[in-house]
Symmetry: C2
Subunit: 363 residues, 2 copies
């Protein structure tokens, strides 16, 4: 664990923009989260706001109010929001500067590097605190090309993909790891986003901050290292975006470069268009065609997991039955019923080969 932390947001209730904060409140092994600072939701418990579970993480409206509560030592203030274009909202700068003056280091996963903002960089130097910009690309000397070493990995690899961005892939992947642990399996997770790193991921990389040429090698390297160091029973790979999201198609890397034999596919039936592109009506393709596409890359979809946002119980059940009939695979509600069934299913499968990576017959 790196230390204690607070999370800065500006509207914790917003599913999309506060995604990083939600992940941190849901659970992190890297930090002990002491509070959320959010001017819009003071006095609440962040856990209760998120999903009704009290987690003893109070929300304060200002950093000053939090510090007045005599919270003890705080090591990090984490920027808990995602913004359009990854720009750092200047409205947050006073809070960040105040944190630095109180000896608190700053962690950010935004595209705009806080360490490149002169006033922040200088202040951090004066107060000897760190500015950790997670998305800053690694130097090339630390990056890996794909080598084919993935073939040495003999345990099953399951990629948690989705039909859109921002619909719960990381959360489902974490639930799968937890469920596998409870069933006595040594399960590991490969993180591929900044929130995954913030949650304490040891193996992985920040996908979208990587030069394209190194993505395949970084996926492979993370999996191979994880396999060699932990000898796991199963590896879950956090997916990103979706295979046909025009704003950033992604997913084939996990199957063809990471050699995932299996996929758990997260889907939000109430969402008709790709998030952020509702106005231009960029349609999310059908679930059935997504499963076919995944098959063409060489992986078998084990189960569909549903994000039920915007659905009532009746509609949820209707979709579950419809998709099970249509696809002939289990459709699971991770947040409501857990994912134990997928782990049971996984246990019955032996180490299948990935046709592309393992040199079986090409599809």
């Amino acid at each position: 664990m790196d230390g204690t932390a607070i999370v800065l947001t500006n509207g914790f209730g917003d599913q999309s923009s506060a995604k990083t904060a939600h992940g941190l409140v849901r659970g992190t092994d890297r930090y002990r989260i002491k509070a959320v600072i959010d001017p819009l939701n003071p006095g609440k418990d962040a856990g209760e706001m998120l999903d009704g579970k009290h987690r003893d993480i109070p929300v304060f409206d200002t950093l000053a109010a939090f510090l007045e509560s005599k919270p003890g030592k705080v090591d990090f203030a984490i920027i808990g929001i995602a913004t359009k274009g990854g720009v750092f909202p200047r409205a947050m700068q006073p809070t960040v500067e105040s944190a630095i003056r109180h000896g608190i280091s700053i962690v950010s996963g935004l595209h705009e590097y806080l360490g490149d903002i002169p006033e922040i960089a200088q202040l951090a130097q004066e107060h000897r605190v760190q500015i950790i910009d997670i998305r800053r690309p690694k130097p090339k000397s630390q990056l890996h090309f794909w080598t084919g070493d993935i073939r040495k990995v003999t345990c099953p690899r399951v990629a948690v993909l989705g039909t859109d961005c921002n619909l719960g892939k990381r959360t489902t992947a974490r639930l799968l790891v937890q469920a596998a642990h409870q069933q006595g399996l040594n399960a590991q997770m490969i993180y591929t986003g900044q929130t995954g790193w913030m949650q304490g991921g040891k193996y992985g990389f920040v996908f979208d901050a990587t030069y394209n040429d190194f993505v395949s090698g970084e996926v492979e390297h993370a999996i191979v290292r994880c396999f060699e160091e932990t000898q796991p029973d199963v590896i879950f790979i956090e997916g990103q975006s979706s295979l046909r999201n025009p704003s950033g198609p992604c997913g084939s890397e996990f199957i063809v470069s990471g050699g995932a034999q299996y996929v758990v596919l997260q889907h939000a039936p109430a969402r008709r268009y790709f998030q952020g592109f509702e106005e231009i009506q960029a349609s999310i393709p059908s679930l059935k065609s997504e499963v076919t596409l995944i098959r063409m890359y060489g992986a078998q979809t084990l189960a569909v997991t549903l994000n039920t946002t915007g659905l009532d119980k009746r509609e949820t059940l209707r979709y579950k039955v419809q998709f099970e009939d249509e696809l002939g695979i289990p459709v699971v509600l991770p947040l409501q019923e857990g994912v134990d069934s997928i782990i049971h299913q996984l246990k019955t499968l032996s180490g299948q080969k990935n046709p592309v990576v393992d040199g079986g017959s090409a599809v």
Copy 2:
């Protein structure tokens, strides 16, 4: 045109490692190529070596020998080789330093930046020449996210994809542009590799040196800008790698983010495994499944173009007939018979919609 140039190689005859040099000898609008420096092939004509066509580009074994020939002013020396991992071969450093001392600027598309090698950087400063590292990523402030503006582009877009890397996609794309020009069309090309830039491409970006998150937006931006500035009849997009190449799966971006409605698919029948991964026998999937996969992304494969390396005339004809029967689309030999037929074919097609990008019915 940027100026006159020489190309440095170390084995011009090698199809794979001298790919950049071959592209430059084949034709560039950015430079006037005066010579190739290659210790292994002095005294020959580079054009004749490449494909039997004399191009008045002599090969010298050393820079000194070239300079003794009183060649007049030379502005640039281009590193014409691709190396494993993109490392700059130190055996070339004396030649590069000598060029700098003669006032010649250096252009490199290697992963390793020549401008970061202290002796080279310092020497360049002393002699006031430029070190142009094409793969150095642009600053984020100059990069674009995907916006959906691609929908404003009304002309047909044709992505030239392939079933592997390094089998002639860029060359076929250039031939298509030339053939279209000869048939009176205003055809434009989007370059996506460093050689494309070196050949004088005005619209495009270096795909593999781009942070993953900006790839979709850079593809879109290049196409939209090209469309607005040149009002073309057709845009050809240079593909990279292949959809299922484990060392860097790529291609869906051109269809789902760049809205390509059509694909010309380059294929090398004699190649069974992905280049560089023959030892681990990573199989290239079947041509038929590739066409199906492209269809799933929303594009129609107009024609297959064959790289006939390693095939005799009889085998070539056999594959041509076999693939035409199997796929029901034309199979063309670009270097032997040209690509006029594909342009004719394209003329008969009206501006079809891309189902994903243009909001038609999802696949």
